[in-house]
Structure formats: C-alpha cells, structure tokens
C-alpha cells in the first residue's frame, strides 16, 4: 500500500480532491475581422494594419484565458479572400496583407457572417459554450459592390443578438454608408492608430472572454481624448 492509500484511510484526512474533473472545451469567443485591402490602403496604412494584427496576437497571448478562448477569422476585401479560418488566438498566425484592388465590402460582410454561422453550428454540435461574437469591419473606402443585402444581414443579426457589429473608418472611408450598415455608431480611426485599435480590441475580447453571467463586461470607450477613435 502506498502513502496515498494510507492517507485516504485516516479518518481525519478526508480529501475531496480525488474527484475527477470533466474535460470540457473552453468556451469560445469568436471575432471576425473584415479588413479592407483595396489599393487605396497601399503604403503606410496597410503596413500599420499588419503591425496592428501582430499586436492583436501578442496582446491576446499575454492573457492565458483569452489565448484559449478568443477565436479569430479574417476576411480581407479587395478582392474577398478568407485569409484566416477561425483559430484560437494561440494558433492564430497574423497575416501579412498587401493592398490589391477594389472594395467589395458587401460580399466581404456576407462571407464573414457565413463563416460565423458555420462556426456557431460547430460549437452547438460539440456542446461548446460561446460568448456573443464580434464582427469588426475596417475600411478606408466606399463599397464597390452592392452592400445593401449585407446591411440588412447585419441589422437582422443585431436584432436577434446573433453578433455585435462594429465599423471603423480609416481616413477616406465613406462613413455615410458605414452608418447605414452598422447599427452602432461607426468610429473614425484617428490617424493610423491601428496599434491602439487592436490593443483596445484585444482588451475588449479579454473582458468578454472571462465574463460570467450577471456581470457587466467592462469596455473602455475608444473615443476618449487619448483613444484611437473619434465619432
């Protein structure tokens, strides 16, 4: 008989730690990034965006819980391309985007929402609990395709609380159209503060991914004076 068994025999050494824990998957916090890589993003904007994506990964990795829970998918548009299928932050490889052609924003939104629906179906099939997904659109232009069907998909999704949709306009973006797509006030990126934007996004995802029922998720207002955005 080994020591462990002996300790279990002693009347005052009652130990509940022999209980086995169920091996459940971590709850997931999906985040879809819809990123404009049209020609107008050439040069510094796309470079700063790429650095922002690397920052996003670093900051999520600094939080062991977020690293396992936050799942990222990226759809670039200019043309529409699924750059990253959903992966946890741990496995996420930040892409290196290059500026290409036009701005098919409507198609990109539809593609992103399609990926999200597939992911949610997979979560449900495997009994994986999840948080409300975030869809985050960043653009510097005007859609070059029919964006209205996508806009109504976004409205339906927001109404049924299927996801939260955020739109950010880089200088040159058509905020008037973004306003018609996003129920939330679109935000204007200050200069090229992509790094600060992605730090904020990772902080927000960290907050969401550790929130429990009945608790407010604390989000920092990005439009405060030293924030990355203005309305």
């Amino acid at each position: 008989m080994n020591e462990f068994d002996l300790s279990r025999q002693t009347p005052f050494g009652v130990d509940f730690s022999v209980a086995e824990f169920a091996d459940n998957p971590e709850p997931r916090c999906p985040c879809v990034l819809l990123l404009d890589n049209s020609w107008s993003m050439s040069g510094q904007p796309i470079a700063e965006l790429n650095e922002g994506l690397a920052t996003f990964k670093e900051e999520l990795m600094a939080d062991s819980l977020a690293a396992k829970r936050v799942e990222i998918a990226i759809v670039s548009f200019g043309p529409v391309h699924v750059v990253n299928e959903f992966q946890t932050a741990e496995r996420f490889a930040p892409p290196h985007l290059t500026a290409e052609k036009d701005t098919p924003m409507g198609l990109a939104i539809s593609k992103g929402l399609e990926l999200l629906n597939q992911r949610k179906a997979l979560y449900r099939e495997h009994g994986i609990p999840f948080f409300r997904p975030w869809v985050f659109l960043i653009t510097d232009g005007t859609p070059t395709d029919d964006w209205k069907p996508a806009a109504s998909q976004v409205r339906q999704g927001e109404d049924s609380r299927a996801f939260a949709f955020f739109a950010v306009g880089v200088e040159g973006a058509n905020l008037d159209i973004l306003q018609q797509i996003s129920l939330r006030q679109p935000l204007r990126l200050r200069g090229l503060r992509f790094r600060e934007l992605f730090q904020w996004l990772s902080n927000s995802m960290r907050s969401v991914s550790r929130s429990v029922p009945g608790t407010e998720v604390p989000l920092i207002n990005p439009t405060q004076p030293d924030g990355w955005a203005s309305v």
């Binding site: 005052f12 009652v14 130990d15 509940f16 730690s17 022999v18 209980a19 086995e20 824990f21 169920a22 459940n24 998957p25 709850p27 495997h126 009994g127 994986i128 609990p129 999840f130 948080f131 409300r132 609380r161 969401v208 550790r210 929130s211 429990v212 029922p213 009945g214 608790t215 407010e216 998720v217």
Partner: protein, 296 residues
C-alpha cells in the same frame, strides 16, 4: 425492505478568485435543513443561490432567497403529504422568494434587479422529491451507477447570460419536477463548478466527479453534517486545482442516505450499487405522477 440510512450532508460556498482579487464577498449562498413533517418522515431541504455579479446586492439577494425558500418549505410542504406535491407548489415557492426580494428592494429603495440571483432548490421525502431551478447551476441525483442532472443549466443564447429569480418573466423560466422516486443521493452546484462537474457535449453529470465526492459522506456514520467534512469540502473548493478551472464563486452541496459503509457492511453495500437486500432496487421511473404504493 432495508430502510435508507439517515441523511448525511456537507455543503460549502467559497469565493472565486475574481472576488478574492477585488475584495468583494462571495455571492454564492447555500443551506441544508431537515424539517419535521406532519404528513411524512422528516424532509431534507437543500437550497443554493448565486448572486449576480453585476447586481449591487446580489449576495444579499442570494442569502434572502435561501432563507425564504427554507421558511416556505417549512410552511407549505411540511404539512402536505409528499404524494400531493405539485409543480404549482414550486411556483408558489418562487412567488414567495420574489415577494421577499421585492420587499427588500422596496425597503432599500432600490430595484429588485439589484438583488438578482439564481435559485436551485430540492425537498426530499422518503419516496418523493420536489426540485426546482431558475438560472444556471445544476441539481444532480443518483441514477443507478451514474449521476444525472435533473435540469440542464439555463444559459441564455450565450455562456455569460442566464436567468435570475428577479427577472420580470422568471415564472416562465421556472423549471420544476415532482419526482416519485426515492432519491438516495443528491448534489447541488452553482455555475462556478459547472465545467468541472458536468459534461457539456453529453449534456449530463460527469459521474467521475461525483462518485469519489460522495464516498467520504457515505462513510460517515453519524447523521447530519460534520465539521471535518465541511472543512475538507471548503478546502477542496478553494484548492488551486479547482481555481485553475474557474474564477467564479462556487457552491457544492452533497447529501446521501445510503446506509453508512462500515468495514463489515462494505461487501453488502458496494459503492454506487443498489443494496441487494433491497426488495425494490430499481428506482421508479422519474414519472411525475404519484405512486400510491410507495406512500410511507
């Protein structure tokens, strides 16, 4: 038939790391009480409530909900034959809890949602049980060699959402069951322990969690609770192994009435197997109708 042994139980609520780090109190509350009943053998009442973190007085709400539940069970169930328990009784219990919380809110000149909490309750007679739940957490009972959840935790569309007794439409989400079966073992747990004690894909209780937890309780010979087991349970709930998996407050209640396992009785009552001397070893199906023959 071999009569069930006396109830032995242990319960503890322990603050999660999230509350320890910001200095706030544990917002889980739980209690177990044995009630003398006029129409039946004594009843065992178990209750647990998880105060909402965002509610200003969630912990107070949980405390009040547990107290009211115990009091109302004594008032309304102790004098009613268990064969006559109905889901309507569960609705009445919920009403009373809500009334008390509304009263507390009025006294404090605040909204009832400031007292938001979940509620898990069970009342067990010899051959019947009444169980109810609003919100997440789980009530787990013995099912042959395994354990099963009576209800699956109520989450909203997302994992960080649930229902509270203070919700305007709480009555709509009340889950309750009157079980016509002799419950031998029962556990109540709040959502802090869900991912350890339940298997999400199978949507079922995780038996390897519960089976060893009940062993020391089965071995206890004296009825009621014991300080050493309570301490051991609180110690377990606050252990790094548990905290590694959950940052939330956590509550666990365990109660058994398996005849105590003694050195000589072990052969007769192997763990988790119905005693062979019991003439009625198979529990009645968990039908919600009464089984008159089983009335004590």
């Amino acid at each position: 038939m071999t009569p069930p042994g006396d109830w032995r139980y242990v319960y503890a609520s322990v603050p999660g790391l999230a509350h320890l780090s910001d200095g706030s109190d544990c917002q889980d509350v739980c209690a177990v009480r044995q009630l003398a009943a006029t129409e039946s053998d004594p009843l065992l009442v178990l209750v647990a409530a998880d105060g909402a973190g965002s509610a200003a007085r969630g912990g107070t709400g949980a405390q009040l909900a547990c107290e009211t539940f115990l009091r109302e069970c004594e008032l309304r169930l102790a004098g009613t034959a268990p064969e006559e328990w109905t889901p309507a009784l569960a609705a009445t219990l919920l009403d009373s809890v809500r009334t008390d919380l509304a009263q507390a809110a009025a006294t404090a000149e605040t909204a009832i949602r400031d007292f938001a909490c979940t509620l898990l309750g069970a009342v067990i007679a010899a051959h019947h049980a009444l169980v109810l739940q609003i919100g997440d957490g789980a009530i787990v009972i013995d099912a042959g060699d395994n354990y099963r959840t009576v209800f699956w935790p109520q989450t909203g569309q997302y994992v960080n959402e649930t229902r509270f007794v203070t919700d305007t439409d709480a009555a709509t989400y009340l889950e309750c069951a009157v079980l016509a079966e002799p419950i031998m073992e029962i556990a109540l747990l709040t959502d802090g322990l869900q991912s350890l004690a339940l298997h999400y894909q199978e949507r079922q209780a995780y038996t390897p969690f519960f089976r060893p937890m009940f062993q020391p309780l089965r071995a206890q010979t004296e009825p009621g609770s014991s300080a050493s087991l309570t301490e051991a349970l609180a110690h377990f709930l606050a252990s790094p192994a548990v905290n590694e998996r959950t940052h939330d407050d956590k509550t666990l209640i365990l109660a058994t009435r398996w005849p105590p396992l003694t050195a000589t009785a072990t052969a007769d009552y192997p763990a988790a197997i119905n005693p062979t001397s019991d003439p009625d070893p198979s529990p009645a199906p968990s039908g919600r109708e009464d089984c008159g023959a089983e009335a004590s």
